[in-house]
């Protein structure tokens, strides 16, 4: 875990960092952060427990334990990453370990929304490109420069056109991924909706 953790604030447009590859489909949030670590009233100490059980099983050989990955910040995964439980503790643990962006074949819906809500852009690439990155990472470290505005990822040897939902992209570029302020702006419309909804009056 990085000791100098500061959560992202405001506009996010460029992410530069080393990739860390994690191979496997359907990696669920119980694996990212086992339930026993959810017994907490803040997220502060989750970084050190990310993938705890998988890491113990692999006895130091898990990508999150390898010395060469200790400064990595761009996670590269396969399909349906983050399925299962809605626990935001999962992306919070990844972020506190040092992850700033994720590139994958696909993501589970709730995990994806949680990543947006805490400022971790998630990009998708076709299976072939993901495997190309993961193979590359097997042999040498890959430093990527991500330009969110143009959805580009550049490196010495590999370049990719990343895919990201247009609404997510706009939220990161404008800083509105931290949604509370934007949602509060429409306070009077919300109050009107509250009065209009049929069932509010049923009780």
């Amino acid at each position: 875990m990085k000791s100098d953790f500061t959560p992202p604030i405001g506009k996010i447009s460029n992410i530069n960092g080393q990739c860390i590859s994690l191979i496997g489909n359907d990696i669920d949030t119980d694996r990212i952060i086992p339930a026993r670590f959810l017994k907490c009233v803040n997220f502060d100490s989750l970084g050190e427990s990310v993938f705890e059980d998988d890491r113990k099983t692999l006895k130091g050989k898990h990508p999150f334990d390898l010395e060469e990955n200790k400064n990595a910040s761009i996670l590269v995964v396969n399909s349906n990453f983050g399925c299962g439980s809605s626990r935001e503790h999962a992306p919070q643990a990844l972020m506190r370990w040092g992850i700033k962006a994720i590139i994958g074949e696909s993501f589970a819906d709730i995990f994806y929304s949680n990543c947006i809500a805490i400022g971790i852009p998630c990009f998708t690439l076709p299976k072939k490109s993901i495997e190309e990155i993961q193979n590359y990472c097997n042999n040498q470290s890959l430093l990527l420069e991500i330009d969110l505005k143009n959805s580009l990822a550049k490196s010495k040897d590999l370049n990719f056109n990343l895919e990201i939902k247009e609404s997510s992209k706009k939220m990161f570029l404008s800083g509105e991924w931290d949604a509370t302020a934007t949602l509060l702006e429409k306070s009077s419309l919300v109050e009107r909706k509250y009065k209009e909804l049929p069932y509010i009056k049923f009780i």
Binding site: K39, S85, D109, S113, T180, L189, P198
Partner: protein, 468 residues
């Protein structure tokens, strides 16, 4: 794009505004909270100096961390005690209704809200828990959210969301004897895959769904998320309305008449447009058991664990991981697999009808001496009803332990856990690696009736042999 489905109608009704990025601001009609995913949200409110916008639209209970053996306070587990105290304090400070232990209304949040009549057709319902999809059984649009979104709902009663597409899953005919809603939903997830639902709401429809009781419908919608769909729903009908009628928070008197009229107008139109439609024959479904590490890895009781060659290229990677983790050989039969622990409970199958079905199988029989078996009612109301019917005694006489309500070993945040590589027969919803509290524990998901049968025989069994 879908049109005139219940999902479209409820979404449009709750839309507050279009946000600059292209997503919608959606009003949340009912917000449910519990002790695990809310403390950080209340902390963030405090940091931002915000109040709860509409405290009357949020309801709390405690479920994930509660012990099921001894619930006296303070809890033996200090961290669990700290979490319940934090929730108590937050609810008191923000004037939020809280159903605490001993109130008579505490239990698993997705069992409690329907049984109190809080869950109603046409609502949007959010909760910091992925199984919030359960409430869709009533024709509401219900989905799980993370803690930052819990913060947003508390502060604004709204969420920023992209509208989902709608896939109708049409189930023809009806389930045969000894086959339950759990079998049907495991079958659906197996056929469609665990990620097929990403970006979709699932509308479950057709004669087989119409035939199901409200509690069975909840089981189906509950597991939508295991198929990747964060929202699953069923159009409301007479069964829905009569389930709600006279519940504590159900509309009363003239409100009831108005509610009924509105609810009847909500269902998907006959000529509504879906983004996708899938049809299947429910009469072909057999008692189903998972063999792997995702809820999609299931087979019928008499089938063999699939060979690698029988699987699609996308499923092979996880299958190989599953054979190794579960210590199963491809081609092996799932029937007769020895089990160590049998668990009946959870938001999927911890309701009174689940306990009735299991008790019927257990009545007059004994749990195998090699098995630890325990039943955890989904709520205090379920526990009371079970006791009134004498079900607790049937469970206890058979050798099952009878516990207090909570989430228990579904996710093992309390002391109910597997040990080492024990195998559990479980009526819960997830068979992920380590899910039930041991990093090498193995979970076989099945219906409560099948868990009862496994408990008696000490191995995976076909419940139809018990009920014929």
């Amino acid at each position: 794009m879908s049109q005139d489905t219940l999902f479209d109608k409820v979404w449009d009704l709750h839309k507050v505004s279009s946000l600059p990025g292209g997503s919608d601001q959606i009003f949340v009609g009912l917000h449910l909270i519990h002790e695990v995913t809310s403390p950080q949200a209340f902390g963030a409110l405090k940091d931002k100096k915000l109040k709860v916008k509409f405290p009357d639209r949020t309801v709390a209970t405690v479920d994930h961390i509660v012990p099921t053996d001894n619930q006296s306070r303070p809890f033996k587990d200090n961290l669990a005690e700290q979490m319940i105290e934090t929730l108590e304090k937050n609810c008191l400070e923000h004037n939020i209704r809280f159903f605490n232990i001993g109130s008579g209304n505490q239990g698993i949040v997705h069992v409690v809200a329907p049984e109190l009549g809080l869950t109603q057709p046409g609502m949007t319902i959010a909760c910091g828990d992925s199984h919030t999809s359960t409430h869709g059984a009533f024709g509401s649009i219900a989905f799980g959210i993370g803690t930052s979104q819990v913060r947003d709902v508390l502060a604004t009663q709204t969420l920023a969301m992209n509208k989902l597409k709608v896939r109708q899953i049409w189930c023809d005919n009806k389930l045969s004897k000894g086959v339950y809603a759990k079998d049907l939903v495991l079958h659906i997830i197996n056929k469609l895959g665990v990620k097929a639902g990403a970006g979709f709401a699932y509308e479950f429809a057709g004669p087989a769904i119409h035939e199901l009781s409200m509690e069975e419908r909840m089981t189906i919608c509950n597991m939508s998320i295991e198929g990747g769909a964060r929202c699953g729903y069923i159009n409301p009908d007479e069964k829905t309305f009569s389930y709600i009628k006279n519940k504590l928070y159900a509309p009363k008197n003239e409100h009831w008449d108005r509610a009924l009229k509105w609810w009847e107008s909500l269902k998907s139109d006959e000529n509504s447009i879906y983004d996708d439609v899938i049809k299947l024959d429910a009469s072909k479904v057999e008692p189903t058991v998972t063999w792997g590490i995702t809820p999609g890895q299931s087979i019928s009781i008499n089938q063999q664990i699939p060979l690698l060659d029988e699987l699609s290229p996308n499923d092979k990677l996880v299958a190989e991981e599953a054979y190794e983790y579960m210590s199963f050989k491809p081609g092996q039969l799932i029937k007769d697999t020895p089990v160590d622990v049998c668990f009946i409970g959870s938001c999927t199958n911890g309701r009174i009808s689940d306990l009735r079905v299991a008790a019927k199988v257990l009545n007059g029989k004994k749990v195998s001496k090699n098995v630890k078996a325990f039943a955890v009612p989904g709520s205090e109301k379920v526990a009371t009803e079970a006791k009134q019917e004498g079900l607790d005694q049937i469970f206890k006489d058979s050798g099952f332990q009878w516990r207090e309500p909570g989430c228990s070993m579904c996710l093992a945040m309390n002391s109910d856990k597997l040990i080492g590589n024990q195998v559990s027969a479980s009526s819960s919803n997830r068979n992920f690696k380590g899910r039930q509290g041991s990093p090498s524990g193995r979970t076989l998901l099945m219906s409560p009736a099948m868990v009862a049968a496994a408990a008696i025989n000490g191995k995976v069994s076909d419940v139809r042999e018990f009920i014929n």
